[in-house]
Structures are given as structure tokens and as C-alpha cells.
């Protein structure tokens, strides 16, 4: 048998799934073929290193965002006419706000100017920012639209959270207000930077990062209000702990 045949078996060999007879033959070949032996060693090293890679950990806010989105979906599933007109308006606003948020985040993530994944290709290709003013204007328009989506979502969420704010402990409300002020300051500074330099990518990313943070904070506030209304002290305490970080 030639090396091609043996090399096709190396994957199963390093995985420990090669049948005993084939393994015996392969081992005999590896003892005499440095190329195939190197390939087997490399495959084994890659496999072992891959298995030992660190597991990235999702941030705590991922669960609070998800539970807020789930709550909005559950409200949508219930029959519309069982709710009072005021509740219907709030539910519609939350669902619409979440839909707009998901659309805006997806749109922004896909439309942001980011480096291409293969650096060698980027190095040889002309960049759009130096060659195409129409593309730059188009990107600016889309960024403005994405910003408007965020602002609408934030306005909707703010109205609902302000209506329920009396449920919150005054100290917690103060922490929330302080966090919101910090984010609003970041939004203001990013907007000032963009007015001076509309194509400033760092300022664009900073603005959308701050808008995203504001949406997340408002979603967490809404979840906290709901947890307190349900009397779930443990759930509320977890959210407050996250907000204080």
C-alpha cells in the first residue's frame, strides 16, 4: 500500500477508532516512513491541543437579556384580549422594542466596517474607505438609520421602565440612574466625535457600543421590575448584583 492509503487512515488512528488489523499495518508503515509519522504526530498534537483549549464563558448579562426577550415572547403568545388596554400597549412596546433591537444589532454587526478574516487578502485588496465616496456616504446613511432604530428602542423601553420605577428600592433606582448617566455621557461624547469626523470608525463603534449598553441596562431594569412584582427576591438580587458591577 502507498502513503496515500495510510494517510487516509491516520485520522481514525489518532482518534483511536481504527480497527486492530489496520492499526497494526499502519504502525508498521509509520516506523519506516518519516513523512507519515510526522503527519500522525502533528494530527495527534492538534487534536490534544484543541481538546485543551479554554472554554470562553458567556457574560452574566447574556442570561438577563435572554430572560427579558423570553418574557416578551411569552406575553405575545398569550391571548391579546385578556389584557387591559394599558397592558396591551406596554406589551406591544416591549415586543416592538426587542424586535427593533435585534434588527438593529444584527444590521449594525453586519454593516460595520471590519477587517476581512484573511489578513493576506486584505493586504492586497484596495480598501473601500480610500477609493469609494459613494460607499462611504452609503455606510454613513446606514449607520444613521441603525442609530435611529436604537433610539426608538431606547425610547420605548424608557417609557415602560419609568412607569414601573416606583417598584424599585430607592438605592437601586439611584444606581440605575447613575449607570444611565455614565452611558449617556459616553453616547454624547461619541456623537460629538462623529460630528467632527463622521468617518471615525472608533467613534462609530463607541457610539453603538454605548447604545447597546443602554438597551441592555434598560432590559435588565425591566426584568428587575418584573422580578420584584412577582416577589422573586432571589432573581431580583441576582440582577441587582449584576447592575452594581
Amino acid at each position: 500500500m502507498n502513503c496515500d492509503v495510510y494517510q487516509a487512515q491516520i485520522g481514525d488512528f489518532v482518534d483511536g477508532t481504527l480497527d486492530p488489523l489496520s492499526e497494526q499495518r499502519l504502525l508498521g508503515h509509520l516506523a519506516t516512513c518519516p513523512d507519515c509519522s510526522a503527519m500522525a504526530d502533528d494530527f495527534n498534537t492538534i487534536r490534544l491541543t484543541a481538546r485543551g483549549l479554554d472554554q470562553p464563558v458567556p457574560p452574566d448579562r447574556a442570561w438577563t437579556r435572554l430572560s427579558a426577550a423570553l418574557e416578551a415572547e411569552r406575553y405575545q403568545e398569550r391571548r391579546w384580549w385578556t389584557f387591559s388596554p394599558g397592558a396591551r400597549w406596554q406589551i406591544a412596546a416591549v415586543a416592538l422594542a426587542l424586535l427593533v433591537i435585534v434588527a438593529a444589532v444584527t444590521w449594525t454587526a453586519l454593516r460595520q466596517v471590519t477587517p476581512a478574516p484573511a489578513p493576506a487578502v486584505v493586504a492586497t485588496a484596495p480598501g473601500p474607505s480610500t477609493a469609494d465616496p459613494d460607499l462611504v456616504r452609503s455606510v454613513e446613511t446606514e449607520l444613521k438609520l441603525a442609530e435611529e432604530h436604537y433610539e426608538k428602542a431606547i425610547a420605548g423601553l424608557e417609557q415602560i421602565t419609568n412607569a414601573g420605577r416606583s417598584t424599585l428600592d430607592p438605592q437601586v433606582a439611584a444606581v440605575l440612574q447613575k449607570n444611565l448617566s455614565i452611558i449617556d455621557q459616553a453616547i454624547g461624547e461619541s456623537r460629538d466625535a462623529l460630528r467632527a469626523q463622521p468617518a471615525n470608525e472608533v467613534a462609530q463603534q463607541s457610539l453603538f457600543g454605548a447604545l447597546r449598553s443602554k438597551v441592555t441596562l434598560l432590559q435588565e431594569t425591566l426584568t428587575l421590575i418584573n422580578e420584584m412584582r412577582k416577589g422573586n427576591q432571589e432573581g431580583a438580587a441576582r440582577i441587582v448584583s449584576g447592575l452594581n458591577q
Binding site: F43, S67, P117
Partner: protein, 180 residues
């Protein structure tokens, strides 16, 4: 094990929030890792993780216990990742037509010539440069530890295709890491 999965799925479908949180806490870590290595950034991974679980919540009625709940979630999750990457690639090719789509994702050359040990960061960087299809198979098999029949089930391909995709990924990684 399968009856426990069916019971948990049933509780989730019935609106048991604690059950859904249990599902999330059990599987979110590994799914986030998968999303992170497929999408390439923490923000995209977080957004994908949310989409995975929202989608799972809507589709729980279709879980019949033919596979484990974890494998079922991975199947949904990987489809979300691949759909997301297809959409992202379509938008990037619209914005930068001069890029050679066939070339994007191909290794640019060896990252290092480390003789014996592969550094984990080098491997992470190399994995990000794999084409989407064989990256998916490699992550599921070599990183997450699924068997080929499970990878095939998750990706909706044959076991033979799973093996050839993992082999292709290992060959490309070997080249990128300066060993082949």
C-alpha cells in the same frame, strides 16, 4: 438520560422558567464557545447565543428524544452560526467586490514554525482562518469531543463527510502552523 431530556423539554414547553434556566445553565457555556469560535468576536457570540436559545425555545415542541437534548441544541446552534456566517460573507462581498471569495478563508501561510508544541493562541488564530464548513466539523469533533456520528447528525451530513471535513481541517491547520 433520554427520558430526563424529554421531561426537561416538556417542562420548558409548559412555561417553566426554572426549567429553561436549567437548560441554559447546562448548555450555554459550550454553545457560547462554539459561537465564539465560529463568529470570531465576543459580541457576535453573545448575540448568537441569545438567538440560539430563543430559537430553541420556539422549537422545543419538535424535540422528540431521538437524540440527546444537548445534541439537538448543538444542531440548532450550529445552523444559526452557519446562517449568520453566510449572511455576513454575502454582505462583505457586496461591500468589497475586489476580494477573491474563493481565496478568503484559505490559509495565508504558516503562522509559526514551532517544532514540537502548538501554542493554544496559534491554534485559535488558525481555527478562525479555516473555511466555515470544515471549521464547524473540527470544532465539534476535536474541540467539543463529539463522535463523528454525532457531528454528522448535528451538521446534517454523512459520517464519511464528517471524517473528511475534520481531516481537511487538520491538514489545513498543519500547514498554517508550519508543520506540513
Amino acid at each position: 438520560m433520554r427520558s430526563a431530556d424529554l421531561e426537561l423539554a416538556k417542562r420548558c414547553r409548559n412555561g417553566d422558567a426554572a426549567a429553561f434556566e436549567e437548560l441554559y445553565r447546562t448548555h450555554a457555556g459550550r454553545l457560547y464557545g462554539l459561537a465564539f469560535r465560529m463568529a470570531g468576536s465576543a459580541q457576535e457570540a453573545e448575540d448568537l447565543l441569545q438567538e440560539m436559545f430563543l430559537h430553541a425555545h420556539r422549537k422545543l415542541g419538535t424535540f422528540r428524544g431521538e437524540s440527546s437534548l444537548g445534541t439537538w441544541l448543538y444542531r440548532l446552534g450550529m445552523n444559526q452560526c452557519l446562517d449568520y456566517l453566510r449572511g455576513k460573507q454575502a454582505r462583505m462581498s457586496q461591500a468589497t467586490d475586489s476580494l477573491d471569495a474563493a481565496g478568503a478563508g484559505e490559509p495565508a501561510g504558516p503562522l509559526s514554525s514551532t517544532p514540537v508544541v502548538i501554542h493554544r493562541l496559534d491554534l485559535e488564530r488558525a481555527i478562525r482562518r479555516l473555511p466555515d464548513g470544515c471549521r464547524a466539523a473540527f470544532l465539534l469533533h476535536d474541540v467539543e469531543g463529539f463522535e463523528h456520528h454525532e457531528v454528522a447528525s448535528i451538521l446534517g451530513v454523512s459520517e464519511g463527510t464528517s471524517k473528511s471535513q475534520v481531516h481537511k481541517a487538520r491538514m489545513k491547520l498543519r500547514t498554517m502552523l508550519g508543520r506540513g
